[in-house]
Symmetry: C2
Subunit: 113 residues, 2 copies
Amino acid sequence: MTIKTEVTTEELSSVLKLLGEKTRMSIMQYVYEREFCVCELVELLGMSQPAISQHLRKLKDAKLVQEKRRGNWVYYKINDEHQVYYVIEKILIELPSIENKLQELERQNLLCD
Amino acid sequence: MTIKTEVTTEELSSVLKLLGEKTRMSIMQYVYEREFCVCELVELLGMSQPAISQHLRKLKDAKLVQEKRRGNWVYYKINDEHQVYYVIEKILIELPSIENKLQELERQNLLCD
DNA sequence: CTCCTATATAAGTAAATGCTTATATTATAA
DNA sequence: TTATAATATAAGCATTTACTTATATAGGAG
């Protein structure tokens, strides 16, 4: 039996505040699919590296994503143990598919590692 | 058969941006329950009348709520025909119950009309 | 070690945000 | 009509935000 921990309005709205920004929402969508390194996200989202890094920092501070360094690259993935992960998931599955963009990335040989 | 309209990342994140503010999230929670006039929301949320009005304006502009004037009072309720209402609902049902606050409001005779 | 690549951080800045106070609008009632 | 109550709007302001550019850090390769 799973006991669902009660969430405060403040906690939930602070998560939604982070998702309420197009770029961060997209990042979340990508790292929900699989892990991505920073440079891949830079390509996918067409934004500067510092901009992406700063968004990732906020997501990491909120424990929405996890990072793992592999050589020069730092990979980010969604934290599926976040307190409101089940809510986040419900939101992310509503977004349009990112498959096209992933294929495009692969086609252009922009995948790292 | 219901056809679920595709939602863009931008549209969804703009809605989440509005919910990503504690006061507005609370307003949405209240008007999800039933209609409320502005002065009731002012009492419930303990904020100034202009502050509440301004939040309601944003929610109305985004078509998240509907207004209806009745005499001096303007009542707001959730717009259950919003494009992503089904997502909003999934979020709102996760919030802690507001029953206590409603009872308190009633006890103090602060209900309008 | 030195060089290079990936990433993070710092500082600066323009724009957006959420309040405040003051005032306008709208409807009811006298 | 005038007065009053509920709400909306305007203007001002402090804070936050999301970028930019420049620089720091960290690891791999030679």
